[in-house]
C-alpha cells in the first residue's frame, strides 16, 4: 500500500519536474537531451517496480494469511517470517525508488 503512495509521489514529481527539466535543457545551450528522458525513466521505472513489487507482496501476504488461518497457533512465527519476507521484497522496489530519486533530484546526467 505504501509503495502505491510512493508511485503516486514519483509520478506527481515527474509531472512537476518534467517541464522544468525541458526548460532547463532549452535554456542551457550545453544542456543535453538526456535530462527529460531521465525524468520519464524515473516515472516509468518506479511504476513498473512498484507494480511488480505489489504483486509479489500480495502473493506473500495471501500465503501467510492462509497459513495463519490453518494454524492459528503458529501465527506469531508466520507473521515474523512474513514481515521479513515483505521487507526483503520491498527493498527491491526501494532500489528503484532511490535510483528514481537520484535521477530526479541529483541529476547526474543533464
Amino acid at each position: 500500500m505504501r509503495l502505491v503512495f510512493v508511485l503516486t509521489v514519483v509520478a506527481v514529481a515527474a509531472v512537476l519536474a518534467g517541464p522544468s527539466a525541458v526548460w532547463a535543457a532549452e535554456a542551457g545551450a550545453s544542456g543535453g537531451w538526456v535530462g527529460p528522458f531521465a525524468v520519464i525513466a524515473a516515472g516509468i521505472g518506479m511504476a513498473i517496480a512498484s507494480g511488480l513489487c505489489a504483486l509479489g507482496q500480495g502473493r506473500a501476504t495471501a500465503s501467510a494469511v492462509d497459513a495463519m488461518a490453518r494454524q492459528p497457533g503458529a501465527a506469531g512465527r508466520i507473521q515474523t517470517a512474513m514481515i521479513i519476507g515483505l521487507a526483503l521484497i520491498e527493498s527491491l522496489a526501494l532500489y528503484v525508488f532511490v535510483i528514481a530519486a537520484i535521477l530526479l533530484f541529483v541529476q547526474p546526467v543533464k
Binding site: R2, V9, T80, I83, L88
Partner: protein, 248 residues
C-alpha cells in the same frame, strides 16, 4: 539531500543537519536511560518499568532468533533499535528532521552490523573455517560459490541502508507533495472566486483529513516497522554467522 518538506527548526552552522539531529537523538536516549536507571528498584515503577519492558522485548526477540547465545548481543541490537526508532519518530515532529532520512546515518548503522557479524563469525569458528564455509559444500564449485557468497554478503549492508533510507525519504517526499497540494488548494480557496471557494474548501478539508487521519498514522507504523526489521535482519545475520559453527 537536504530537508525536503522544510528546513529544520534549529541548525548549527557548519554542521550538517543529520549530524545535529543525531546528537539530539543521543541526548534524548542518554537522558531517558539515565533517568530510568538513576534509582534502580527491585519492583520497577514508572520510567524504569517502561524501559525494562522495552528491553525485555529485545531480549525475547534475541532468544527467539539467535538462540541461547543471543543475550550477549543485546547491547548492539537494542542500541541500534532504540536509535533508529527514536530517529524515525523524530522525523514526524514538525520542525525536526529524521537523521535516518539521510543515507550517511543508515549506511553507518548498516556498516556496523556488517563488520560485527563477520567479526562474530570469525571469532566463533576461526578465519579458515569461516572462509571455507563461504566456498560451499562441493569443492569443484568453490570458485563460483566464493564469488557468489561475497556478493551476497556485500549486498546485505547495501539493502539494510537503502531500505531504511528509502522508506524514510519516501515518506518525507510524500508528505511534501501533499503539503504543497494542500497549500495550493487553500490559496485557490482564499483567492475568492466562486469555483475556487466551492472546490478549494472541501478539497483542503479532505486533504487535511487524509494527512492527519491516514498518512501520519501510516508513518508512525512505518517508523516502528522499519526499526523492527533492521533489528530483525541484524539478528538473523548474527544468527547465521553463529549457527555455522554449530552445524558445519
Amino acid at each position: 539531500m537536504e530537508a525536503i518538506e522544510h528546513p529544520p527548526l534549529f541548525a548549527i552552522p557548519g554542521v550538517p543537519d543529520h549530524l545535529t539531529y543525531t546528537w539530539l537523538v543521543m541526548v534524548i536516549l542518554i537522558v531517558v536511560s539515565a533517568a530510568a536507571s538513576r534509582r534502580l528498584q527491585l519492583v520497577p515503577r514508572g520510567l524504569q518499568n517502561f524501559m525494562e519492558i522495552v528491553l525485555e522485548q529485545f531480549l525475547s526477540l534475541l532468544d527467539d532468533v539467535v538462540g541461547h547465545e543471543g543475550r550477549r548481543y543485546l547491547p548492539l541490537i537494542a542500541t541500534l533499535g532504540l536509535f533508529i526508532l527514536t530517529s524515525n519518530l523524530l522525523g514526524l515532529v514538525p520542525g525536526l528532521m529524521a537523521p535516518t532520512s539521510n543515507i550517511n546515518t543508515t549506511a553507518a548503522c548498516a556498516l556496523i552490523v556488517f563488520f560485527t557479524y563477520h567479526w562474530i563469525g570469525i571469532q566463533k569458528q576461526g578465519l579458515g573455517r569461516y572462509l571455507k564455509h563461504l566456498c560451499g559444500p562441493v569443492w569443484w564449485l568453490a570458485p563460483l560459490m566464493f564469488v557468489v557468497e561475497i556478493f551476497s554478503h556485500l549486498a546485505r549492508p547495501l539493502s539494510l541502508a537503502l531500505r531504511l533510507f528509502g522508506n524514510m525519504t519516501g515518506g518525507h517526499i510524500l508528505l511534501a507533495v501533499i503539503f504543497s497540494l494542500t497549500l495550493g488548494l487553500a490559496s485557490w480557496a482564499a483567492a475568492g472566486s466562486l469555483p475556487g471557494v466551492l472546490l478549494g474548501v472541501p478539497g483542503t478539508a479532505l486533504l487535511v483529513l487524509f494527512t492527519t487521519g491516514f498518512l501520519l498514522p501510516l508513518k508512525i507504523l512505518v517508523a516502528f516497522l522499519q526499526a523492527f526489521i533492521f533489528c530483525m535482519l541484524s539478528m538473523l545475520y548474527i544468527a547465521g554467522a553463529i549457527e555455522e559453527a554449530e552445524h558445519p
